[in-house]
């Protein structure tokens, strides 16, 4: 007789049934934790996306202003001369 004979299939089935209840609670806890992590991760990513978009818009505005300023700067002396004449 070996250890497997002593445990037997009935013992194994009983063990599985005893652990099933605990396994369900562990699964439920893990799922809730995962759901919370996903939700917080999504919110953080959304915040980062909004931040990146605002930064890109600001950068685009800045470049447009810089181009306008350069254009005015080029036209500026000519306009100033016309004004004095």
């Amino acid at each position: 007789m070996n250890a497997l004979d002593v445990a037997g299939p009935v013992g194994a089935a009983g063990s599985v049934a005893a652990h099933l209840h605990a396994a369900r609670w562990v699964a439920a806890g893990s799922f809730v934790a995962l759901l919370l992590a996903l939700t917080f991760g999504l919110l953080r990513a959304k915040k980062q996306v909004l931040h990146d978009e605002a930064e890109a818009a600001l950068e685009a505005d800045f470049q447009r202003l810089e181009r306008e300023l350069a254009a005015h700067g080029a036209a500026g002396p000519a306009a100033a001369r016309e004004g004095t004449e």
């Binding site: 099933l20 396994a23 369900r24 699964a27 439920a28 893990s30 799922f31 995962l34 759901l35 996903l38 939700t39 991760g41 999504l42 990513a45 959304k46 980062q48 996306v49 931040h51 990146d52």
Partner: protein, 199 residues
Amino acid sequence: MAQTMETFEGAVGVGPAPPGSSRQRYDVLGRALSGLGFAAIWGLAAGSGAPALALANVYKVPMVLALSAVVALPAVLVTRHLLRIRVAPFELCAALVTSLYRASLLLLGFAPLLAVYAYTSQWVAPWLAQGSGLLALGCGAVALRSELSRLPAPRLQLLLLGSVAVITLALSLLQLVSLATPVLTVPTVFGSGIDGVLR
């Protein structure tokens, strides 16, 4: 040609977001949560014959889907490491999440039909539920293969990685379904997990 297009897209600032960027992270997390929502709707439809079961399924079916992905993920990452596939773990997770999202989209498509059958037929509804579940699993496997084929790695290694992912996902799904039983109004062969299938 593709490289030229990618360079052009990069220069003009269009096209897909770079891997791991905040936009891509947001998309992947959004897909993960949407997939869980779709699975919850399928669960509601599958158990709509009994109101208590339907309400319990709103939590049980997404739990089975989410935990099966979590259980399968370490095996997938270890396989990636052993096969020396030079792909970022985030990209693998994104492929896995996208395939599960597509599978749950299929479940969402079947949900109204399943709800009608759950109210009107006692015998066909469980078959339809199991059939749509298996079809979603197949659709997920095809979607995973399609997502993995886009990654920059040898095809054979990606095929092996995909096979490992599908097998571990299926095995973990089977046991987690047995943990969440009852999901349908009648007992099925999947209710006892792998012991019930092999018996």
